[in-house]
């Protein structure tokens, strides 16, 4: 598993790859020359993999946001190279302005945009379906169902893009990107393309090119009618048909097998959901009495097929989908992930079968639920965000003016919940914090007197914060922007950014320090260490009370990065239980019940606090906050 399997294994061998590695392999097999991305789960491993095998034949880049990332990849395509841009669903919004312009004029070398959706939002603040954006941008969409198919589709997507002279989107989801499957490797191309941008060749955006984009979709519809990614399984004359795409294929198979309906139900798998392979679908739609739709997240395929059915006056079939409310999980229709049970329920209903969901009875489940201790999201042991949050919490409480905290996107999203002391009042998207803070600070004339602070990350700063700062500074806003600088894009797996001093491939690179950018904007800037919690708190307090836009950088390296760098722990932290006052302290077990670092544990035998030295990274912040001074920090040599 991993990048070595992707790059070094001989062709013909089967290797176990996750979906993102398979996408990376597919790109290599297709002869990709330029690959760029802004990291975001569940898409990050594509570029993580390619960055390890970057060579003279391949340029790989962690860009500072999805928009510049796509612009770079498009540029490579303009020059005739095959290029790929990877992002999570949220990132497509950021790149969208460019995408909707570029797609009109089109491009040249194969350009594949890989967008990984995150149904149920396992690692996202929002859940949504990027296919609707592709539709708005008029970009064809391919949806793989398995890891192996993801690899195959990437190759086809490059071909299709070059045939159409426009970008093609590959839509993955968490359960494809983060599932492992066997991939039999194809040959890597030897041919090397030359980048050419001949004088006189232009890539412009004009209103009239709207027609080009339309025609491109029409052309795509003809091509994908022959695509091997659309096929059916099961009894051809079945009266019940499941139309599915993506991972729902696997759930549909499992549902049919579970109910033993192999000879009664047909699965129609659609790999090209935009544009639809209309003839192929009509073929399977015409004779069906019951039509079930299985897809994630919104009823995209469902809507398209219903329109198709209506256009052809096929009034015979009864539809079972999200629009009809038949297909739904715990969150109701069109929200959350698909699973086999959801499809089983629909099938059992149609076929009048009794099906009992395996597992405990609902009553037992409910009772068990009350017995399980509540488990919150957790930040890592020694995470600097925890210290920063405590400093912010303290400063705004003492300030006493009921400060509004505008959050932003990163590990520190946890500031919105218990783990982050429920600090955030707003939380939306990359860079939203400063914009919201800027707006709130303008509402004094309408009676809103609460001061505003916004918390953003370092990678977020480069991604989308700077415009908000400029806007705030220029418009005379009053807010404090706190940059939680852990010197890495931590949440998505420690990718470098312009502040880290290394590039995508780990080589030294120009550093673009945040403080210099802020100083250049003419905005007052201070730097503090959240581990020196008292000083950081006072700094926040003081800056909060000053007029104008201010920036405070709370700088402390991500605990995971630091632990990897230093290897052995430099400091040992332990509780002197003769000093710890236990439950008589008056702190109410602050270290374990409020502070929330996994390194702080309770010793039930002695009724005292303790440190889990296996996970403690030795930051020592808990020692500074312990009211009894019972936590000892020892330098280890």
């Amino acid at each position: 598993m991993g990048w070595k399997d992707v790059a070094l294994t001989k062709k013909g061998n089967a290797v176990l790859l996750n979906g993102n590695e398979a996408i990376a392999r597919g790109a290599l097999e297709a002869g990709v020359c330029y690959a760029s991305s802004y990291p975001g789960s569940p898409s990050s491993e594509v570029i993580d993999t390619l960055s390890k095998i970057s060579s003279s034949d391949l340029y790989v880049e962690w860009s500072i946001n999805e928009k510049v990332s796509l612009e770079g990849a498009a540029a490579a395509s303009f020059a005739g190279l095959r290029s790929m841009c990877v992002m999570k669903a949220d990132g497509l919004n950021v790149a969208f302005d460019f995408l909707t312009s570029m797609n009109l004029g089109g491009c040249k070398g194969g350009l594949v945009i890989v967008v990984a959706d995150d149904p149920l939002g396992h690692s996202s603040v929002k859940e949504y379906d990027s296919r609707y954006l592709a539709k708005a941008a008029m970009v064809p969409v391919l949806e793989p169902s398995t890891v192996n198919e993801a690899r195959d589709m990437v190759i086809q997507a490059f071909d299709l893009s070059e045939q159409l002279k426009g970008p093609v989107m590959l839509r993955s989801v968490t359960r494809v990107s983060h599932t492992r499957g066997l991939v039999t490797l194809n040959k890597l191309p030897k041919m090397r393309r030359k980048a050419e941008f001949p004088a006189g060749e232009c890539f412009l955006t004009k209103t009239i090119f709207h027609m080009k984009a339309r025609d491109r979709l029409d052309k795509a519809a003809v091509i994908i009618e022959e695509s091997g990614f659309n096929y059916y399984e099961g009894f051809e004359g079945a009266d019940t048909v499941i139309f599915c795409c993506g991972t729902s294929l696997l759930y549909a198979r499992e549902a049919i097998k579970t109910l033993g309906l192999q000879n009664e139900v047909k699965v129609v798998k659609v790999g090209t959901t935009l544009p639809l392979p209309e003839k192929f679908i009509l073929n399977h739609l015409q004779e069906a009495s019951n039509v079930i739709f299985a897809e994630e997240i919104r009823p995209f395929l469902e809507e398209s097929i219903m329109i198709l059915s209506s256009r052809h006056n096929l009034g015979k079939a009864r539809f079972y989908g999200k629009i009809t409310g038949d297909v739904m999980g715990l969150r109701g229709p069109a929200c959350g992930e698909m699973n086999a049970d959801i499809i089983i329920k629909v099938l059992a209903n149609i076929k009048n079968l009794y099906y009992r969901t395996p597992g405990y009875d609902p009553e037992v489940k409910e009772e068990l639920g009350t017995m399980i201790p509540p488990r919150e999201y957790a930040m890592c042991p020694g995470c600097p965000h925890r210290a920063s949050f405590w400093a912010v919490k303290t400063a705004i409480a003492v300030d006493g003016r009921d400060c509004i905290v505008a959050g932003d996107i990163g590990c520190y999203c946890l500031g919105a919940w218990d783990t982050g002391f429920n600090l955030f009042d707003t939380l939306h998207c990359m860079g939203a914090g400063p914009g919201i803070a800027s707006g709130l600070s303008k509402l004094g004339r309408f009676g809103l007197e609460r001061p505003t602070v916004t918390l953003v990350g370092d990678s977020t700063f480069y991604h989308a914060v700077i415009p908000g700062l400029i806007n705030g500074h220029y418009s005379g806003s009053d807010y404090l922007c706190i940059v939680l600088d852990n010197s890495v894009t931590a949440m998505t797996g420690h990718q470098p950014h312009p502040g880290t001093g290394i590039n995508t491939c780990g080589e030294p690179a120009t550093t673009v320090p945040i403080e210099k950018i802020v100083a250049g904007l003419g905005i007052p800037c201070k730097i503090a260490d959240p581990f020196d919690n008292k000083n950081a708190t006072e700094c926040i307090f003081e800056m909060l009370r000053k007029p104008g836009v201010k920036v405070l950088i709370l700088r402390q390296e991500c605990a995971l990065v630091q632990a990897r760098k230093q290897g052995k722990k430099k400091r040992r932290v332990y509780v002197d239980q003769t000093i710890c006052r236990g439950d008589t302290c008056g702190c109410g077990r602050f270290c374990t019940s409020v502070w929330g670092c996994p390194g702080n544990i309770w010793d039930p035998v002695n009724g005292k606090a303790a440190i889990d030295e296996a996970v403690c990274v030795g930051c020592g912040v808990c020692a500074a906050l312990c009211p009894a001074d019972a936590i000892v920090v020892e330098e280890v040599y």
């Binding site: 006493g400 008056g586 009211p627």
Partner: protein
């Protein structure tokens, strides 16, 4: 209610009764025992709903329910007292014997002189005092004469000096002296009763006269008006700033808006529970008014006079009615105000004060 009855839901009560009602005088007594009450820039806040039943914060707060009658009993062993000036043995004009202390002090330098003497005598090993100056106070745990000298001079904002008490305890001091405003004196007396925080180590309490103190916004005012270029501030009547013999006066009405709201509820301008109370004479800037209240205070003053540490002269009889009048009306205003429920005064006590206050 006992002086120091255990209070349940302490921090929540503190928020509800003291902080949210603007009664907090910023004394700092509630800070330092737990991670949930913090002070920055002379502001105090409960930053987390701690839900700890036995918290000491409410028990030591001078603006939480306060029974002066019981506290007087604890401090003086008797409930006999003068309703206006509090319990006292003697009143003097006093000044430091040491010229340096005298000049550095606001008036007579008596507080610094007495504390330096108590330190040398081993009566105390450390003290909580307030350093810095009128442009920014700096609470300090001091244990040398030099450190004490850095704390001379009056400050006019509400420094939360008592927040450092646990630091003094952690430094191992067994006998700790406290110099503070009247609210801090009351807090110190309450703290003495709480063994969990080693309050019994408070062994000398010197209180200042205090008619009001300013909120931290006063610092901004000083800065904005370039008054920080002056090195001495006083409030004889209007606010006086002095620099190399040059004086400017700001009408008190201009700074009245900075007076802490809690000061309007203060029934104790003369630190009635202190061992010694010290203030200005309002007549002679070279001398302090010294009120000797407890036996311990009397003993210390006696020795200090004998050693020439301080010099005293009788408090002029003709000034007493003036002082009484000023204090009586301050207290009366407070009694008539809305925020005196914390005082636990019986209707009889109120009546007694109002009836006898001016003439006794």
């Amino acid at each position: 209610m006992e002086v120091n009855a255990i209070v349940y839901g302490a921090a929540a009560k503190l928020v509800e009764e003291v902080l949210d009602t603007d009664l907090c005088s910023g004394c700092g007594a509630c800070i330092g025992y737990c991670p949930y009450i913090k002070t920055i820039g002379e502001r105090v806040a409960v930053i987390h709903d701690c839900n700890i039943c036995e918290g000491v914060c409410y028990r030591v707060c001078p603006r939480a329910s306060t029974n002066y009658q019981l506290l007087r009993q604890e401090v003086f062993g008797s409930a006999q007292f003068d309703p206006v000036l509090g319990t006292y043995e003697n009143m003097y004009f006093a000044r430091a014997g040491n010229e340096l202390i005298h000049t550095k002090g606001q008036y007579g330098g008596v507080v610094t002189a007495i504390f330096a003497y108590a330190l040398k005598q081993g009566l105390i090993e450390g003290a909580l005092m307030t350093g810095g100056d009128f442009t920014r106070t700096k609470p300090a745990v001091v244990s040398t004469v030099n450190e004490m000298l850095a704390c001379t001079g009056s400050k006019y904002t509400a420094s939360p000096t008592l927040s450092l008490f646990q630091e003094a305890v952690k430094k191992g001091f067994q006998n700790i002296g406290i110099v503070g405003r009247p609210c801090q004196v009351t807090a110190a007396r309450k703290m003495q009763e709480v063994t969990e925080i080693k309050g019994e180590r408070i062994s000398l309490v010197v209180g200042l006269f205090c008619m009001e103190s300013f909120t931290p916004d006063f610092y901004d005012y000083i800065k904005e008006n370039n008054l920080d270029e002056y090195y001495r501030m006083d409030i004889p009547k209007d606010v006086q700033f002095e620099r190399n013999g040059e004086n400017i006066f700001v009408p008190f009405d201009e700074v009245r808006k900075f007076v802490c709201k809690s000061c309007y509820s203060c029934f104790d301008p003369l630190s009635e529970l202190a061992d010694l109370s010290v203030g200005s004479t309002e007549h002679d800037p070279g001398w302090n008014t010294l009120i000797v209240r407890t036996e311990k205070g009397a003993e210390l003053v006696k020795k200090a006079v004998a050693r020439g540490v301080i010099e005293t002269k009788p408090y002029p009889k003709e000034l007493l009615p003036l002082l009484r009048k000023a204090v009586f009306y301050k207290k009366k205003r407070v009694l008539e105000g809305p925020d005196t429920n914390y005082l636990e005064l019986t209707p009889y006590e109120r009546k007694y004060f109002l009836a006898t206050g001016v003439d006794v």
